[in-house]
């Protein structure tokens, strides 16, 4: 078995949960499916808009469709054998356990800071042993060296953690996707930790 076959066979039995299918979630999902991850559950209650196309993994002909369904279609075009569970719903305290309880790793990919905070606190309270990989701070362009990972036990925070005015500093593809790739790379690190050499 080659090294890449060893990695993909190890990832093929793993499951990641992704909370949100926007700029972070859609791009994380694509990188994980490309890497050979076998199982993904992704939850979001939004539809694809024209404005999403500047950074999210959707296409112009998918505008108006549910993000999770459009994303599932795109992911299956990368790997038709991937098991992609698309859940068109808002993540709440009532359904988070059934959505993410069986995942090996969970990616936080919400848009709003209050949702990020709620979800982090809920995960720490209910699944303290499960790795949670968050994104925080990625607006604007330039200064790529400010993007970093903060590690705190099973909590990992990717981004610059810098507050900006969203009217003046928009979200653009490079920094959003860089943070998504940091999240995906950390997911691989955690999922491959106990991989035999």
């Amino acid at each position: 078995m080659t090294v890449i076959q060893n990695i993909t066979s190890h990832l093929s039995v793993k499951k990641a949960g992704i909370a949100g299918a926007g700029g972070l979630g859609s791009n994380v999902a694509a990188a994980l499916v490309r890497s050979g991850l076998g199982h993904i559950v992704i939850a979001d209650y939004d539809v694809v808009t024209e404005a999403n196309l500047n950074r999210q993994f959707f296409f112009a002909d998918q505008v108006g469709r549910s993000k999770v369904e459009a994303l599932r279609e795109n992911l299956l075009r990368i790997n038709s054998r991937a098991d992609v569970e698309a859940r068109f719903c808002k993540v709440t305290a009532r359904n988070a356990g059934s959505l993410f309880g069986s995942c090996d790793v969970v990616i936080e990919a919400f848009d709003r800071a209050d949702e990020k905070k709620w979800f982090a606190e809920w995960m720490i309270a209910h699944f303290p042993a499960k790795p949670l990989i968050m994104g925080s701070g990625m607006a604007g362009y330039g200064r790529p060296e400010t993007l970093r990972v903060q590690r705190s036990g099973n909590l990992y925070i990717c981004g610059d953690q810098k507050e900006t005015d969203e009217k003046l500093v928009p979200l653009l593809a490079p920094r959003v996707i860089m943070v998504a790739m940091m999240q995906a790379d950390l997911a691989l690190e955690l999922l491959l930790k106990e991989k035999p050499l």
């Binding site: 606190e121 309270a125 903060q150 590690r151 507050e163």
Partner: protein
């Protein structure tokens, strides 16, 4: 006291301090923060009365909108 703040050693002259005082001293002024002391989540309402001592590990995470 010397503590580990966000994975870096930081020294303060008092022997113990509340989380709120450490935040004031280190200029953590943002709204959406997650605070963990020795791995335990500390809710906002407890920051003033939670005491940090020498050798403790304090993590302060700033959550920003956008994703």
């Amino acid at each position: 006291m010397t503590i580990t703040l966000n994975n870096r050693k930081e020294s303060f002259s008092p022997q113990e301090m509340s989380i709120t005082r450490i935040m004031e001293e280190k200029s953590f002024i943002f709204k959406m923060l997650i605070v963990k002391l020795n791995g335990t989540l500390i809710p906002r309402e407890s920051w003033t009365r939670t005491v940090v001592r020498d050798g403790d590990r304090l993590d302060i995470i700033h959550l920003v909108s956008g994703g």
